[in-house]
């Protein structure tokens, strides 16, 4: 508890932790295979292909078939990690995710790469800001948004141990390694990374280290902000949410659409069980051209924006 980001720490691309972990597991678990849509490079699976050439299945640019083939591989006893850019993996293959993976309870691990606005300048076709809203609406689909390399590794291992479909939402945006006094990852469990009792900031993925930075700024003003890393969006950690609501104010922040994602999941629970003033930070819809970091700053998805939202909310505390 009470973790902060390491000062002047190095920044990491979580894809590296993803492929390192899959390779490590594949060395001892013959069931593990990787399925890609011509995305060996962007998924960083070149080494996996070299080590396990027969277990890298490249279907070419065909996402519907990729997800269907993934479900078939699971039927054949494999544990497929189906990797592709989140925008195409989720949107293009949505019915396959619903019918072949979730409704069929197939043991498929979907790994969305370069999610959020990582492909900033390429525009909204290549942004994946709707994916969490879409996938958490599907019954039985576990949705995990890791925040740093350690959590990415834990999520991959937990997804492998979990029988059923999982969506792991990865970025290519650099993030620091977060410090944890009591590191423990469990699907459906969140963690507190900064203590505080005046307001709760609930974040995941690339937003967690920014939320911690905001909490430190608020602490210097005498405002206690609790930062909760809600890596699993579905199923969501309702016990943690009930506690968070007791602070009297909740800010959510995600690198995704404001509607229907992490903020929506928190709001659904709180509205029915623990009504509390909220602010939901995210993108309002299709966003203009610009780099990922520019877009995050422009839409207040940075430490300053999070702190501002928290300050504004304090006056509305229940």
């Amino acid at each position: 508890m009470g973790a902060v980001t390491k000062p002047d720490t190095a920044m990491f691309d979580c894809r590296e932790a993803y492929v390192r972990t899959v390779e490590e597991m594949a060395a001892t678990d013959e069931r593990i295979v990787a399925v890609v849509n011509d995305s060996v490079g962007s998924s960083k699976l070149g080494k996996f292909r070299d080590r396990f050439p027969h277990r890298l299945i490249n279907v070419g640019i065909a996402e519907q078939n990729m997800v269907g083939v993934g479900a078939g591989l699971a039927n054949g006893g494999k544990v497929p990690f189906v990797s592709g850019a989140s925008c195409f993996l989720t949107a293009r293959a949505m019915e396959q995710i619903k019918a072949d993976c979730a409704y069929s309870r197939a043991n498929v691990k979907l790994c969305g790469i370069s999610s959020g606005v990582a492909y900033g300048e390429l525009g909204a076709t290549h942004h994946s800001i709707e994916d969490v809203a879409w996938l958490r609406a599907i019954d039985g689909m576990t949705v995990i948004v890791p925040s740093d390399p350690w959590e990415t590794e834990q999520a991959i291992r937990a997804a492998t141990a979990h029988e059923g479909p999982v969506y792991i939402r990865l970025s290519r945006m650099p993030v620091p390694a977060l410090e944890r006094s009591n590191p423990h990852f469990e699907i459906g469990k969140s963690e507190i990374l900064h203590e505080g009792g005046d307001v709760a900031i609930i974040a995941n993925g690339t937003m967690v280290h920014r939320a911690i930075k905001a909490a430190k700024a608020l602490a210097s003003e005498g405002v206690g902000a609790r930062v909760i890393n809600m890596a699993t969006v579905s199923p969501i950690d309702t016990a943690m949410l009930a506690d968070a609501a007791k602070t009297g104010a909740i800010v959510t922040v995600e690198e995704g659409l404001k509607q229907g994602g992490l903020g929506g999941a928190v709001a659904e629970f709180c509205a029915e069980n623990a009504p509390v003033p909220m602010r939901v930070l995210g993108f309002p819809g299709f966003v203009p051209t610009g780099s990922a970091s520019w877009l995050m700053d422009e839409f207040g998805l940075n430490a300053a924006g999070i702190a501002t939202a928290a300050r504004e909310l304090l006056g509305k505390r229940a």
Binding site: N65, G76, A99
Partner: protein, 290 residues
């Protein structure tokens, strides 16, 4: 009833005539049984069920190496019903093979029945993947065959598709990839009845030249009369020989086969016979076995 099930190597010791007669009897029972189910449920897809019956009977009562007592055995043959709406035919075949009790057929489409309008593997062991939306079962079947190829496993994968279903783009993604991988233990059967829900396939979005399309995607293509049990058995026997390419059996079929007033009528894609129609259908089917 003659009981002629295949040996563990997939081959029956019976003659082709004996095997065909066995399948014919079972197919006739399936038709009579699922028409009753459709009448009782007040809904169904009789046209497609009747079209697919002889193919399914050949698979379930002769070709498929499955153990009804252990339907999830890793080395089982896989059958994927890509045209998932034809559950009358599928469920009667599965029950007839012993995958669930025949009396459960009475629950078809009833509240909380395991016999959903489209097959669901979480309800019913023996269903490999949940289908219903078209264009799904085939890619999953390709994935199953890839798993078998990686493991050099002995099981075979069979996929039954509709012909209208081949208008879905995902089918050709799967066909292209299966051809590329040389999935020699994969067999697709196209139920080529030339009618889709609303009209003829060739008047809607034509599929011909269909064999050429599959050949161009790297497949071996065989044409067969989809209601000739001996011809179907020969095609499946041949399809199970070692080979380097996936094989498609284009089964020339008749939507509504076996019930004169339903044959080649797009209107019987959906539909429920009234009491007079049902009596006539049963009389025709019983006469066929007389």
């Amino acid at each position: 009833m003659i009981c002629i099930m295949p040996e563990p190597d997939g081959r029956s010791t019976a003659t082709i005539e004996q095997r065909a007669e066995h399948v014919r009897e079972r197919a006739n029972w399936m038709r009579r049984r699922f028409l009753r189910m459709i009448v009782d449920a007040g809904q169904g897809h009789p046209g497609g069920d009747l079209s697919a019956t002889d193919i399914l009977a050949t698979l379930y009562f002769d070709v498929l190496r499955i153990d009804a007592a252990n339907p999830m055995a890793p080395d089982r043959d896989r059958f994927v019903m890509s045209k998932g709406h034809c559950t009358g035919a599928l469920y009667t075949a599965m029950a007839g093979r012993g995958l669930f009790p025949e009396e459960d057929l009475n629950s078809y489409l009833q509240p909380r029945s395991r016999l959903n309008g489209h097959p669901n593997r979480t309800y019913l062991p023996g269903v490999e993947t949940n289908t219903g939306p078209l264009g799904h079962g085939f890619p999953v079947g390709v994935g199953i065959a890839v798993a078998g190829q990686i493991d050099e496993a002995d099981f075979r994968t069979f996929v039954l598709t509709g012909d209208g279903e081949l208008q879905e783009g995902s089918m050709w993604e799967a066909a292209m990839f299966a051809g590329h991988r040389g999935l020699g233990k994969l067999t697709v059967i196209v139920d080529r009845n030339r009618l889709q829900q609303g009209a003829k396939t060739e008047d809607t979005n034509g599929l011909e030249p269909l064999g050429d399309k599959w050949r161009a995607f790297g497949w071996e293509v065989v044409g067969v009369d989809g209601h000739d049990h001996a011809a179907l058995l020969n095609a499946f026997d041949d399809a199970c020989e070692p080979r380097e390419k996936p094989r498609v059996i284009i089964a020339d079929t008749c939507k509504g086969k076996g019930v004169s007033f339903m044959e080649n009528q797009a209107g019987w894609h959906h539909g429920v016979p009234n009491p007079e129609q049902y009596a006539q259908a049963l009389a025709e089917l019983e006469a066929e076995m007389a």
